[in-house]
């Protein structure tokens, strides 16, 4: 197991260009031994490039990569002791489950008894013991993905398990089970797990620390709670959460926030503001309804409501602006208008797209 460290690592695919077009802009970051991380971002944000630099599939055009303080920047993938799990399970269809799991050990000339012990142990953790003697071909998608994962785990010396969208092909209710397994493994073997995904829910439910990326750079690093409650840029506010955070242009007058024709109080210290490029955001989950005006309330018209089963999503309108509000399914809506309470401690203020603390 290893601590992974990037020092000023950056990558540009066209290294002859005068001004490098970075797929990954230079940055420094370390991943602690035994940590559970997610790299989260839209297609083309650089997350897979980052993963490929870790695994050695790509040599970065700039910077140095360390595993446990050892410079491995130019060490080949095979010598890095990395286990990789991809979007689609990679298994040997003609072999039994046992032989699939034993394969990496056989290649490294382990004795038969060592192989048996290790394979049985991993199969036990992954709930594959009962299918060990079956052919791998007939298994379900999640079992196949467990085998891919198991092949990485049978080697005790793996520095980290790197996963690129490993749950994409798995049905929703099975994702739960697989994620749970990953966490069990993480706590039992103290394996460093790094998980690449575009799906915020996967990242948030899986990782202790999430690294959010956009356009080749890291925009925020934090826990699910931090990313949700205080997104550091308007991009993170949009990208994390479903629906995206409600965000509006606003201005400041007499130490109050002006949003359309409403004036709102806010907990943020407004003295630090230098420009008039301001936006204010609030999560649809943090808005309460009221039938009479209260502090920090705005009057809005209810345009539509969508039943999602576990909750109802209201689309409301005020001053030609649209605002989404999540409410409980049991909550009864009787009138066409409502006051929306935008609590002052729930408002996030952005200057030039960056959060003001």
């Amino acid at each position: 197991m290893a601590k992974i460290e990037f020092k000023n690592v950056g990558h540009s695919y066209d290294q002859n260009a005068k001004i490098p077009a970075y797929a990954l802009k230079p940055f420094s970051l370390s991943w602690e031994d035994g940590g559970r991380y997610a790299l989260l971002g839209p297609s083309g944000c650089g997350k897979t490039t980052m993963l490929n630099i870790m695994s050695g599939l790509i040599t970065p055009s700039e910077g140095t990569v360390f595993f446990n303080d050892k410079n491995i920047t130019s060490v080949k993938t095979e010598q890095r002791n990395i286990a990789q799990v991809f979007q689609f399970p990679v298994i040997y269809n003609t072999m039994s489950v046992f032989d699939n799991l034993a394969f990496p050990l056989k290649c490294r000339k382990f004795s038969n008894s060592q192989i048996r012990t290790k394979v049985n142990e991993v199969a036990d953790i992954l709930n594959l013991s009962s299918v060990l003697n079956l052919g791998a071909k007939g298994l379900t998608a999640d079992q196949k993905q467990l085998i891919s994962l198991g092949r990485g785990l049978v080697r005790e010396d793996v520095a980290a398990v790197l996963m690129d969208e490993p749950l994409t092909v798995i049905d929703p209710d099975l994702k739960f089970k697989l994620r749970r397994k990953l966490k069990e493994i993480n706590s039992k073997y103290n394996t460093t797990l790094i998980y690449v995904t575009h799906d915020q829910n996967e990242a948030m439910t899986f990782a202790e620390k999430i690294i959010v990326m956009d356009s080749g750079q890291i925009v925020q690093r934090g826990s699910s709670k931090e990313l949700f409650e205080s997104p550091s840029t308007t991009f993170v506010a949009y990208f994390i959460g479903s629906p995206a955070m409600n965000i509006f242009n606003c201005s400041i007058e007499n130490n109050e926030l002006v949003l359309g024709r409403f004036k709102l109080k806010i907990d943020t210290n407004l003295d630090q503001i230098k420009s008039n490029e301001l936006k204010v955001g609030i999560r649809s989950e943090f808005i309460d309804l009221s039938d009479k005006p209260t502090e920090n309330s705005i009057l809005a018209k209810i345009k539509s409501n969508e039943d999602f089963g576990n909750y109802i999503l209201l689309t409301c309108e005020f001053d030609n602006l649209e605002i989404k509000v999540k409410i409980k399914r049991e909550q009864v809506i009787t009138s066409e208008t409502t006051y929306l309470i935008l609590s002052k401690n729930r408002l996030c203020l952005y200057e030039k797209e960056k959060l003001i603390n």
């Binding site: 739960f176 575009h198 915020q200 948030m204 826990s223 699910s224 039943d307 999602f308 576990n310």
Partner: protein, 358 residues
């Protein structure tokens, strides 16, 4: 205008792709086929399009036999998971393609294509090559091409599944608007999905499929409120509904040696015996006077916390509407919103629901 499938069965090897599928589709409605992978969704769409054979059964459209109509005469448009476009053509030419095939007047083609381009939000992109578009834009092109065909039957096979999460969210909203516009009044729309939230949001008729068989069909609200059996309750909820084996004896519900409670009002007519009890993760809550459970794993997702819990052999998932940190194996006390308790019989069929059953 009606599309009727009658007893469609297809069993190429040992497994049923379709098993006695009988359905009626009406114009102006959106139907969502909801099921796990390999449940028969794609098979059914392909059969309607004429791209997959059947062993027995038949399809009629507007009262006439459809099975013998060749694919190109079926007036069906299909959008696939993969964004299928002509890579060498521009956005405009990709969308105009089916109309040009039909030798329609150029000015009419221009009109139709521009309407479709507006609908899918691609104005200004007419001259772009397909490779210059993002995945979401490419899928819009495929959708626009299927719209200009003015097909009477529009089939969408998990059209958003290969898109980024955020794009999916946005496009799903747009699709819903496109579907609810004039298009749907003269056509039948069938949309396949594995995602219960997506099916709820599309808010049409839901058809739940499993192993090639129809388990239930009805409005989104109906299927959510009254899942006809345990399987449906699992497929239509994320996380799946908690289902626990237990007994009713002398007006008490007994789940195990530690958990029992009085029979709630909506179940007052129930008889003593063995049942399966169902409760959604969102209908459980923390309660200092509740039952002891241990936390296996706590997962935080945005504003919610999923708690995977166990007590002896009993495993449950609880959804908390707040963000709260727990340690593994923490001992917590929880309770159930008994007004929301479902009862299934030993075979797994729904007996009592917290909502009025139609």
């Amino acid at each position: 205008m009606k599309l009727v499938t009658h007893n469609l069965t297809f069993k190429p090897e040992n497994e049923y792709f379709l098993n006695k599928v009988s359905l009626e589709f009406e114009a102006g409605k959106l139907y969502t086929l909801l099921g796990r992978t390999l449940s028969g969704k794609t098979s059914l769409l392909k059969t309607i399009a004429g791209l997959q054979p059947i062993d027995t059964g038949n399809i009629t459209f507007e009262g006439k036999d459809f099975s013998s109509v060749p694919v190109w005469k079926r007036n069906v448009a299909m959008v696939y998971q993969e964004f299928i476009n002509y890579p060498h053509l521009s956005v405009y030419d990709n969308i105009a393609f089916p109309l040009k095939q039909r030798k329609i007047k150029t000015s009419d083609i221009e009109n139709e294509v521009s309407v479709a381009i507006n609908k899918v939000g691609l104005s200004g992109f007419e001259k772009r090559k397909i490779q210059e578009l993002s995945g979401g834009q490419q899928q819009r092109v495929a959708l626009a091409r299927s719209l200009v065909k003015n097909a009477k039957i529009l089939l969408l096979d998990e059209p958003l599944v290969n898109l980024d999460y955020k794009l999916r969210e946005g496009l799903r909203d747009e699709f819903k608007n496109i579907f609810s516009s004039d298009l749907s009044s003269h056509s039948i729309l069938i949309y396949a999905s594995t995602d219960p939230l997506e099916a709820m949001q599309l808010n049409g008729e839901i058809i739940v499929l499993d192993e090639g068989e129809i388990l239930q069909s009805g409005t989104a609200k109906d299927v959510f409120e009254n899942p006809s059996n345990i399987k449906v309750a699992e497929i239509t909820n994320d996380p799946a509904m908690n289902v626990i084996k237990g007994n009713i004896d002398s007006n008490k519900i007994i789940l195990n040696e530690n958990i029992s409670f009085d029979v709630p009002v909506h179940l007052k007519d129930i008889q003593a015996g063995s049942y399966h009890f169902g409760i959604r993760a969102s209908d459980m809550f923390l309660d200092t006077k509740g039952f002891d459970f241990n936390v296996d794993i706590a997962e935080i997702s945005g504003s919610e916390t999923f708690l995977h819990l166990h007590q002896n052999e009993l495993n449950m998932v609880l959804l908390l509407e707040e963000v709260k940190n727990f340690n593994d194996q923490d001992n917590i006390k929880i309770n159930f919103n008994l007004k929301k308790l479902y009862v299934f019989d030993e075979k797994g069929d729904l007996q009592f629901s917290p909502f009025t059953m139609s």
